[in-house]
């Protein structure tokens, strides 16, 4: 029997870590006044963790629906960059692409683009995307029904777990000059904007680092 690739196990591990945040989301959303049905619908239909937390936080603080949608979409905008990055990896019919687009998030994109071979990248995307979708929605339901968190994910250091995972997923990109320039540029842009820009903007703005990286990256080929 063929050995199961590491990314399947890794994707499931990320999903398990995500589930604790999903429980938190379910708890916070219902506490802010959303019904269990609406809370679960958000996780199924929106499926962008940071956006969902932002929307619920704005509503909970007494903000308008427009402000909640605006903050959430600002955080969701980075998925447009991921869609472009995944275009050469997720081939197949338009219908298939339209369906799998729903599980495009930080983790599925990061896990896919860290693989050197396209076939592995595609499988890593599906493994991570499906695991995250399943854990996120089950966790949301549990949190919405239970109404109390199992524990604060931050006490366990889980807020750092994802950034630590991104460090591992960044490493393969740093083997090329273009990737190095994009990484340093993206980091500097985010750091410069972080003190004053609204949440979500520092990450989208980091996309601009792809331009100098493109000029340098030509020498890679």
């Amino acid at each position: 029997m063929r050995k199961r690739p590491a990314y399947v196990r890794d994707g499931i591990a990320l999903g398990a870590a995500v589930s604790l945040f999903a429980v938190s989301f379910g708890v916070l959303a219902t506490a802010s006044g959303l019904s269990v049905a609406k809370t679960c619908a958000m996780s199924l239909l929106v499926f962008t963790g940071a956006s969902q937390f932002a929307a619920v936080a704005v509503v909970d603080a007494g903000g308008s629906t427009g402000a909640a949608i605006g903050s959430a979409l600002l955080l969701a905008a980075r998925n447009a960059a991921y869609g472009l990055a995944l275009a050469p990896i997720l081939r197949g019919s338009r219908l298939r692409r339209a369906i799998v687009a729903q599980v495009i998030v930080d983790e599925s994109t990061g896990m896919a683009t860290a693989q050197p071979e396209r076939a592995d990248a595609e499988r890593a995307f599906y493994a991570t995307g499906i695991a995250l979708f399943a854990f996120w929605n089950i966790g949301t339901l549990v949190g919405a029904l239970a109404g109390t968190a199992l524990g604060d994910p931050e006490t366990l250091g889980l807020d750092t777990a994802f950034a630590a995972g991104f460090v591992a997923l960044l490493a393969p990109h740093l083997r090329r000059r273009g990737g190095q320039v994009a990484a340093v540029g993206g980091g500097l842009i985010a750091l410069a904007l972080l003190p004053f820009a609204p949440a979500g903007v520092p990450v989208i703005a980091a996309s601009l680092a792809a331009l100098p990286a493109l000029a340098v990256g030509r020498r890679d080929e």
Partner: protein, 102 residues
Amino acid sequence: MSWPAILVLAAGAYVFKATGLLVFGDSDESSLGIRVGRLLPPALLTALIVVSTFGATDGKGLALDARAAGIAAAAVAVWRRAPFILVIVIGAAVTALLRVLA
């Protein structure tokens, strides 16, 4: 939030996700869009690391706390070629440990 508001948010989030795949899905590997797309993950992953490591947890601004130590430990683990799950566990454990001690 009302049902229409949730549906508007879902539609907006979906448009962001699907546009790249549907517009550039048949593009040539050497087209400008695809070449730019390949360079976006390193730029955005680094930005995400910076934001979740140095972003103040209570609003805007910068913060230097237990998270930075966790990420530094994770980076060392990556450099020493530790498996992915171990990198995550080290990052979380170092952060959690410092929080307990603080």
